[in-house]
C-alpha cells in the first residue's frame, strides 16, 4: 500500500497548491498511472489491429482473386510484388505469419489484457493504482520496444518471419529454408522475448494487485467477473509464457550457436547439416504448452468483460455467478493439459493422442456452462442495446459457432482430415479471434466514458456492430465448407491441384466480405478518435452500473478517488432486485415504479431494507462493526 499512500500524499500536496504538477512526459509518456498505461496499451493495440487487418486484406485478395494484378500495391510493398504484378509467394507467407503473430500477441494479448486489466483492476477492486506502478510502466515500454522491433522486421530486405505464427523448426531455424528465416526470424524472436517480459511484468502486477489491494469488503466472492477473468488470465500467462520463452531460447541456440535441440538429419541447400538427435516435435510441445493456454489468455478477458456487460444491460444479475467463476477456473486448469491436440498428426505417439483427445473434449463442458449462463441471463431481462451489449451478444454467438467446431477438431480421428485445413482457420477465427475481438470492442464501448470522460456515438456503434457482425459471419461461415472439402491452409493458390479447384466463387465472396468488414472498422476508428475530443460529455454512471469504477469522478485523477476509497458491501450484480415479502404490501405503486433497478456495490444492506433477503438482513450488524473498524484504519492511512 505504500505506493498508493504516496500517491495520495502527492494528490493532497497538489491540492495544497504546492505545484508538483507532473510534466507532459511523466504524465502521458513514462506514466505510472494505470489508466494512462491502459490507454497506451489500447492505442498501440488499435494501431497493430489496423496493420494486422490490412495484411489479411492483402492476402485475402490473393486468395479470392489469384489472377488480379497487385501492381497497385507496389508503392507499399515494392520488391515483394513480382515483375509480372503478382504477390511474391514468400511474402504471402510472411503476411500470413505476421497477421497471426500481431493479432494473437499484440492485439488480443497486449491490446486486450493490457488495456482492460490495467484499466479495470484498480478501478473495480477499489485501489489507488497497481501494486507496482513502475513495473506497470516497464510492462508497457517492453511491449513498445517489442512492437518497434517487430515493425522494423517488415522493412528488411529478407522480409519478416514467414514460417507461420507457430514458427515450427526446422523451417524457422534454417535461413536456407526460406529467406524470412534469416534476420526476420531473429527479430521475431527478440521481439517476442521482450513481449514475454512485458506480459510477465504485467501479469505479476495484476495478480498481486487483485490479491492485496482490494478495498474493504471486496472479498473474492464479491469481485466482478471481469476481475476474476483478468486474475485467472494473468495466472495462466505467468505459468505458460516462460515456457514459450524457453522454447524461443532453444531455437535461438539452434539458429545461432550450433546446438541441435530441434534439428536432426537435415539435408538442405545441397549439404547435409551436422545436427543429429534433435526433435522438431519437442518444439511443438513447448510451443503449444504456451500456445493453447494462450487461446484462453485471449478469450477469458473477453468472457469476463461480456459477463459484466450482459448483466448490466440485461438489468439482471449474471446467472450462476459461482458457476461462471468455477467454469473459468476449470477452463484455466484444463487449458494446461490439452496442448497436444494441436499435434495429433505430427507423428506423436497415438496413445498420447487418445489422452489429449479425452482431456480436450472435457473443456467443452465448462464452455457450454458459460454459454447457457449467458443465455439465461438474457432470459426475462430488460435488455438495453448499447453498442457494448450488441458486441457482447455477438461474442456469445461466435463463441457458440466456433466452440462447437472445436468438438470436431478435438476428436483425433476427425482431426486427421481436418487438421491444417480451412476448417481450423474458420474455427479459431470465430472462437478466439472474433470472439476475443468483440470482447475488446465491447469493452471499449462500455468503458470509453470512464477512460475519456466522453461518450462514443451510439448510432455509429450500431452501424459498426452490424457491419462487423454480419461481415465476420460472411467471412468465416463459408470457410467451413472449404475446410470440410479439405482445402489446406497457408496455400498461396489452389490452382496446382484438381482436388482444390472448386470454390473459386466462394473464395472470392469471402475476400469481398473481408474487405468490407475491414473498411467498416474505420467507422469505429472515426468514432473512437473523434469522441475522445468531441464526444458528448459522459454522465457519472452512464449505464447505471453497480461496479466501483462508476463511483469515481468522471475524469478520475491520480489515485482514482479524491477522498477515501469506497467500501463494498454487496456483490456487483444486484440489478432489478425485487422488494422482499416484508415490504411487498407496504410500498405504493409510485414508490415501486421509482425504485432504481440497480444497487451499487457501495450501498450497505442497512440502506436497502426493502430488497434485502433474510440472510442479508443479518449482515447489517456486521456492516456497522466493520465501518467502525474501517474508519480507524483509514485515519491511519491518511496520516
Amino acid at each position: 500500500m505504500e505506493t498508493a499512500d504516496l500517491h495520495i500524499a502527492e494528490e493532497h500536496a497538489n491540492e495544497a497548491h504546492e505545484h508538483h504538477e507532473q510534466g507532459f512526459v511523466a504524465k502521458y509518456i513514462f506514466s505510472q498511472d494505470h489508466k494512462i498505461i491502459a490507454k497506451q496499451f489500447l492505442i498501440t493495440g488499435i494501431l497493430w489491429a489496423v496493420i494486422g487487418g490490412l495484411l489479411s486484406v492483402f492476402f485475402r485478395l490473393q486468395l479470392g482473386f489469384p489472377d488480379m494484378s497487385m501492381e497497385w500495391l507496389r508503392p507499399l510493398l515494392g520488391g515483394w510484388i513480382t515483375p509480372t504484378g503478382q504477390l511474391d509467394t514468400e511474402f504471402y507467407l510472411a503476411m500470413v505469419t505476421m497477421h497471426g503473430t500481431i493479432m494473437v500477441f499484440f492485439v488480443l494479448t497486449a491490446g486486450l489484457s493490457g488495456t482492460f486489466s490495467n484499466f479495470l483492476i484498480p478501478l473495480q477492486i477499489g485501489a489507488r493504482d497497481m501494486a507496482s506502478g513502475f513495473m506497470n510502466m516497464l510492462s508497457y515500454w517492453f511491449f513498445f520496444l517489442s512492437s518497434v522491433i517487430m515493425f522494423i522486421s517488415f522493412f528488411i530486405s529478407t522480409g519478416p518471419a514467414s514460417g507461420g505464427w507457430v514458427i515450427y523448426p526446422p523451417l524457422s531455424a534454417l535461413p536456407q529454408a526460406m529467406s524470412g528465416s534469416g534476420l526476420g526470424m531473429t527479430l521475431w524472436l527478440v521481439s517476442m522475448a521482450l513481449f514475454i517480459v512485458s506480459t510477465l511484468l504485467g501479469g505479476i502486477n495484476y495478480i498481486t494487485t487483485v490479491i492485496n489491494l482490494r478495498t474493504d469488503g471486496m472479498s473474492f466472492d464479491k469481485l466482478p467477473l471481469t476481475i476474476w477473468a483478468f486474475f485467472l488470465t494473468a495466472i495462466i500467462g505467468l505459468l505458460s509464457f516462460p515456457v514459450l520463452l524457453s522454447a524461443a531460447l532453444l531455437l535461438i541456440l539452434d539458429r545461432s550457436f550450433g546446438t541441435s535441440f530441434y534439428l536432426s538429419e537435415i539435408y538442405i541447400g545441397g549439404e547435409a547439416l551436422p545436427n543429429l538427435g534433435g526433435s522438431p516435435i519437442l518444439f511443438q510441445h513447448l510451443f503449444w504448452f504456451l500456445g493453447h493456454p494462450e487461446v484462453y489468455i485471449v478469450l477469458l478477458p473477453s468472457l469476463g468483460i461480456t459477463s459484466e456487460i450482459i448483466s448490466t444491460n440485461s438489468r439482471k444479475p449474471i446467472f450462476g455467478y459461482k458457476a461462471m467463476i468455477g467454469s473459468m477456473i476449470g477452463i484455466g486448469f484444463l487449458s494446461f493439459i490439452v496442448w497436444a491436440h494441436h499435434m495429433f498428426v505430427t507423428g506423436m505417439n497415438p496413445f498420447l493422442g487418445s489422452i489429449f483427445m479425452l482431456l480436450t473434449l472435457i473443456i467443452a463442458i465448462p464452455s457450454a456452462i458459460k454459454v447457457f449462463n449467458y443465455i439465461t441471463t438474457l432470459w426475462k431481462g430488460n435488455i438495453v442495446f448499447t453498442p457494448a451489449m450488441l458486441f457482447s451478444i455477438g461474442l456469445v454467438s461466435f463463441f457458440i459457432s466456433g466452440g462447437l467446431t472445436g468438438i470436431f477438431l478435438g476428436n483425433s480421428a476427425l482431426d486427421i482430415q481436418l487438421h491444417d485445413t480451412y476448417f481450423v482457420v474458420a474455427h479459431f477465427h470465430l472462437v478466439m479471434g472474433s470472439a476475443a475481438f468483440f470482447g475488446m470492442l465491447a469493452g471499449v464501448y462500455h468503458w470509453f466514458p470512464k477512460m475519456f470522460g466522453r461518450m462514443m456515438d451510439a448510432k455509429l456503434g450500431y452501424v459498426h456492430f452490424w457491419f462487423t457482425f454480419i461481415g465476420i459471419y460472411l467471412i468465416f461461415f463459408p470457410m467451413h465448407y472449404i475446410g470440410i472439402a479439405g482445402f489446406p491452409r497457408r496455400y498461396y493458390s489452389f490452382t496446382n491441384f484438381d482436388a482444390f479447384s472448386t470454390f473459386t466463387d466462394l473464395n472470392a465472396f469471402i475476400s469481398i466480405a473481408a474487405v468490407l468488414t475491414f473498411v467498416a472498422q474505420f467507422i469505429f476508428l472515426f468514432n473512437f478518435f473523434y469522441s475522445i475530443f468531441r464526444g458528448r460529455k459522459a454522465p457519472a454512471n452512464p449505464w447505471n452500473s453497480n461496479t466501483l469504477e462508476w463511483t469515481t469522478p468522471i475524469n478520475p485523477g491520480h489515485g482514482n478517488w479524491p477522498g477515501e476509497i469506497p467500501k463494498v458491501y454487496r456483490w456487483p450484480y444486484d440489478y432489478s432486485k425485487p422488494v422482499n415479502e416484508e415490504y411487498a404490501g407496504k410500498m405504493s405503486e409510485e414508490e415501486l415504479a421509482n425504485m432504481p433497478d440497480f444497487i451499487p456495490q457501495t450501498v450497505p444492506y442497512s440502506e436497502t431494507p426493502e430488497t434485502n433477503l433474510p440472510h442479508e438482513n443479518d449482515l447489517i450488524n456486521l456492516e456497522v462493526k466493520d465501518d467502525e473498524g474501517a474508519i480507524v484504519i483509514d485515519t491511519k492511512k491518511e496520516e
Binding site: P170, I268, R315, N373, L460, Y462
Partner: protein
C-alpha cells in the same frame, strides 16, 4: 497521378462522411431526440436480432444445401468411411446444439428488449439447471469421445504384416517415393549420403536397397492394406490425401507412418466423379516454404493385378544409376548385380563401368 487522385478521393470521402455525421447530430439535438434505452434504436436493434436469426439461419441452411456436393467430397479409403460417419454424427449433435443455442440467444435478445414499464426478473442462480447443463453435455461428449477413441485406435494400430510398403519423402518442394522392390524390404538410408541422384540417401552397403525403386508417381493396390512410411529430409512437410482422409506429418529425423486400405481405384473414381482426368493427389499440409502450395504428386490406385504388373515393370534405382555400384561393398557386388536386375541388362553395361 492516379494515386494522388485516389488519395484526394479518400480524403474527400472522409470529410463528407464526417460532415454528414455532424449534421445528423445537430439535427438530432435540434429535434430533441431521446438517447438511451427509450430511444427507437433499442427497438430497431432488438428487431434486427430477430431478422439476423431468420435471414442468416436461412442462408446457412440454403448454402449448406447448395454446396453439399462441393464439400462432401468422395471417400476412397476404408477408415475414411468410418471417420466420415463419425463426422456426420458429430455434425448432427453439434448442429442441434448450435441451432438451439443460437435461436435462444437471438430470440431472447429480441423478446426481452427494453420496455419502460417492464422490470427484469431477478434470477441469480438455479443449481438444478446448472447440473442439468453440466451433465447433459458431459454424457454426450463421453459418447463422442469413446466413439472417437475406438476409431482412432483402429486407425493408428499396427499395420498388417502383408501391407504394401511405400516410402514417401518430403523435400522442398516435391514428394519422392521409394518402393522396397522384390524383397519387400526397404534399404537403410543415411541423410549424409544424399546427393543429386541419390535423393533418398540410400545406404548401398545394405543389400535390401539394391532392388528398391523410385517411380515418378505412387501406385497402390485397391482393397489391400498399404503402409506409408513417411519422412522428410529438410523441413516439416505433411502427407495429405483428402480422398483417403489421410494426413501425417513428415518430420526430419523422425520417420512416421500411416496405414490404410484404399477402396476405390482411380478408374472407379473417374466413373464416380464423372471426370475422366481424375487423379488422386498427394498434397502438403504443413507450411514448408515458398513452394508449399506446389507440392503435388499423383497417386494411382490400381486393381491388384494391374498393380502387381506395374511393380514388375519397375527397374531398380541401382540399375538406372549403375555408377553407384562403386559404393557397394565388394562382398555384395554379386548380390547387387542380381537383385538390382543389372545382370539381365549386362549386355548394355560393361563390367568396366563398375
Amino acid at each position: 497521378m492516379n494515386q494522388i487522385l485516389l488519395g484526394a478521393g479518400i480524403v474527400l470521402l472522409v470529410l463528407i462522411i464526417g460532415l454528414l455525421y455532424k449534421i445528423s447530430i445537430m439535427v438530432g439535438v435540434a429535434r430533441g431526440k431521446k438517447e438511451g434505452p427509450e430511444s427507437r434504436s433499442n427497438t430497431v436493434n432488438g428487431v434486427f436480432m430477430l431478422l439476423f436469426l431468420v435471414i442468416f439461419g436461412a442462408m446457412g441452411w440454403i448454402s449448406a444445401y447448395l454446396y453439399f456436393d462441393d464439400y462432401n467430397i468422395p471417400v476412397a479409403s476404408a477408415h475414411g468411411s468410418v471417420t466420415d460417419t463419425l463426422f456426420w454424427w458429430t455434425m448432427g449433435i453439434t448442429g442441434f446444439a448450435f441451432v438451439v443455442t443460437q435461436v435462444l440467444l437471438f430470440y431472447f435478445s429480441f423478446k426481452y428488449r427494453y420496455r419502460k414499464e417492464a422490470r427484469a426478473t431477478y434470477y441469480p442462480d438455479n443449481s438444478k439447471l446448472e447440473i442439468i447443463w453440466t451433465v447433459v453435455p458431459a454424457v454426450v461428449l463421453t459418447l463422442l469421445v469413446f466413439y472417437g477413441l475406438n476409431v482412432w485406435t483402429d486407425i493408428t494400430s499396427q499395420a498388417p504384416e502383408d501391407a504394401e510398403v511405400v516410402e514417401i519423402m518430403g523435400m522442398q518442394f516435391a514428394w519422392k517415393t521409394r518402393y522396397p522392390g522384390a524383397d519387400n524390404q526397404l534399404g537403410n538410408y543415411d541423410y549424409r549420403k544424399i546427393d543429386a541422384a541419390n535423393m533418398f540417401g540410400m545406404d548401398l552397403t545394405d543389400k535390401n536397397s539394391f532392388d528398391d525403386f523410385m517411380p515418378r508417381e505412387i501406385h497402390i493396390p485397391k482393397g489391400k492394406p498399404v503402409l506409408f512410411k513417411i519422412r522428410a529430409r529438410d523441413v516439416l512437410h505433411s502427407v495429405y490425401v483428402p480422398y483417403f482422409r489421410l494426413k501425417m506429418d513428415a518430420v526430419p529425423g523422425m520417420p512416421t507412418k500411416f496405414w490404410f486400405v484404399p477402396t476405390k481405384s482411380t478408374a472407379d473414381m473417374r466413373e464416380e466423379t464423372g471426370n475422366p482426368d481424375f487423379n488422386y493427389e498427394l498434397a502438403c499440409a504443413e507450411i514448408c516454404g515458398n513452394g508449399h502450395f506446389t507440392m503435388r504428386m499423383t497417386i494411382v490406385v490400381d486393381e491388384p493385378a494391374d498393380y502387381e504388373k506395374w511393380k514388375k515393370e519397375q527397374k531398380s534405382w541401382l540399375s538406372k544409376n549403375p555408377e553407384y555400384m562403386s559404393q557397394v561393398p565388394a562382398a555384395l557386388k554379386e548380390v547387387a548385380l542380381i537383385s538390382s536386375g543389372i545382370d539381365t541388362e549386362a549386355g548394355k553395361i560393361t563390367e568396366a563401368s563398375f
